[in-house]
Assembly symmetry: C2
């Protein structure tokens, strides 16, 4: 093999589904590995809702948008196949923002060596963006206390499923909002959630009232959409809302309005948006919180595997349709 | 005089202006002052937007609603005219939740003796609910830093005018939203605000952009209404929003929706509602923060005086029309 494949972003999404016209598939010559560098063969790429933000032209987002004509940004894991760098040996596993490409030549900056003897899928599902995001949002903003009630939207998703399991481990009552009966069944029977709402088929107000008789203390928002208004209306005094994702609204040219703020005062609510890049310095403490629960078997996950680099393009639309079952990972 | 007048709340507001049908004017026999009690003759009653919350049936609000058939709740100041209590002498000035009545027989619980040699109007305008609310919201939620930009709605109101002056004293750029050119003139030329927006006549987006070229770091929300969406859209990364009042929405049966939450994530905003009863324990620290600025002459105020107990009823509607010029006080 003398060339490898990469996918560049060449246009910004305008709302609506992600299509192939936004990308360009390119074949590049295999690079030579100069002094101080090493070459990674990526094995697994993570698809995350945060990528919609990275594709958008909004310069006010938490990290700069992907420049047009450059490789699409994504996190992933791979193996070192050639090294001229003292810190990385052939065979080492490395994780970080590897992008939509088969090979990466790097000096190692911003990348981490994977030490834990865990499968690639587990690392990308729990110890990468999803698990860190869940841990940061739940503990720093949600401030969970045993006996409280937490509702999480996108509950079968990569972040939401970990949020709910962490909250259960902390002694909370946990209700998840999902988009199919299969997902409802999974979060209740496999993950141990106390209840589930199928936002596509349930009467939201009725079902929510039934499942949260003592009101809601913490809302972990991954989706936006109509459920938001109903949850907001049932928040308890001094409730906390962590805003992590608004996937239901990203594809809309004109996003839906949010709830009126009168309850903010009446119930002295705190609503806080967050994004992991602000907290990369806290990763050691986050892992310290998360790892014991994983080791105790309290954090289960499932992965939805797509095959081949190019499957990433249409794969992104699974976030809008809710068609993914578990953490989306592209296997190269 | 063998009787005195009081006003009871007898019905809950249903949206729309406050009318006399919600109240009952009663005449009561002057009480005798038993052991451990004292009698206050109220001289000045404060009218505050918080009173709409106290009248509403919502049991989830921060203090219980006023029970129907009992005296309407309000803060005020008065003089002790008869005492059988060792801690209060005839002539002492006392402040607290005195209610809509000419005389109050009390054991002193929840009331404070006024020590400062200041006029009653100044005490009710700065050292009572408005000043404490402004100080709590600005410092605990707004976390102002010199050089930042603050926008406050209801900027000529009792809370907003103090928020803006405190922020100016802390070295911020301060823009106020008001409902008349007279108020705009007052906050700029008398209080030292950097700019003013008349929400009734200005093009909100254009004027706001012009006055906040570096975006907005802190929003102190006293009103709700259309300005909210425009301010929200101009918030800077890590911006803070203190939600103190939503007066524009209280009279509406169906309150307007709020902004979509996508910017919460993109800019990692914090939106926090608060109400003073949660912070009564912090009053000494709040006064410690507030008093030096008052003594340095940095906190000016003006009062809008209504005459006579019954003027309180229709006086409340001035909050909706913005017809009040300064802190609303009923002189008895």
């Amino acid at each position: 093999m003398t060339t490898y494949t990469a996918i560049n972003l060449i246009a910004r999404p305008k709302g609506g589904p992600i299509g192939p016209e936004l990308f360009e598939i390119v074949h590049k010559d295999m690079p030579s590995v100069s002094e101080g560098k090493f070459l990674i063969k990526q094995t697994h790429m993570s698809l995350d809702p945060a990528m919609f933000g990275w594709m958008s032209p909004d310069t006010e987002s938490y990290i700069p948008p992907v420049a047009l004509g450059t490789v699409m940004r994504s996190s992933g894991i791979g193996k070192v196949v050639e090294s001229n760098h003292p810190g990385f040996q052939v065979g080492d596993r490395v994780t970080g923002l590897l992008g939509w490409q088969e090979y990466i030549l790097t000096n190692g900056q911003g990348l981490h060596k994977v030490q834990a003897p865990l499968p690639e899928e587990t690392i990308l599902s729990i110890f990468a963006l999803p698990g860190l995001t869940a841990t940061q949002g739940l503990f720093a903003i949600g401030k969970p206390k045993a006996g409280e009630t937490l509702v999480v939207s996108g509950a079968a998703g990569s972040v939401g499923s970990i949020v709910g399991q962490l909250a259960k481990a902390e002694g909370l009552t946990v209700v998840g909002v999902v988009g199919s009966d299969e997902k409802a069944d999974w979060i209740i029977n496999e993950l141990g959630f106390d209840g589930a709402i199928n936002y596509k088929t349930d009467d939201l107000a009725t079902k929510l009232a039934e499942l949260t008789p003592k009101g809601i203390d913490i809302y972990f928002e991954n989706t936006g959409g109509p459920i938001q208004q109903h949850v907001f209306a049932r928040m308890n005094t001094h409730g906390r809302i962590a805003v992590c994702g608004m996937i239901a609204d990203y594809p809309k040219a004109e996003p839906d309005l949010g709830p009126n703020w009168i309850p903010m005062i009446k119930k002295r609510l705190t609503v806080q948006g967050f994004a992991m890049p602000d907290h990369f310095g806290d990763i050691p403490q986050l892992l310290e919180k998360l790892t014991p629960y994983v080791m105790q078997g309290k954090i289960k996950h499932r992965t939805h595997i797509l095959q081949g680099l190019e499957s990433a393009i249409t794969g992104l639309n699974l976030f809008f349709t809710g068609g993914n079952k578990g953490k989306l990972i592209v296997k190269l």
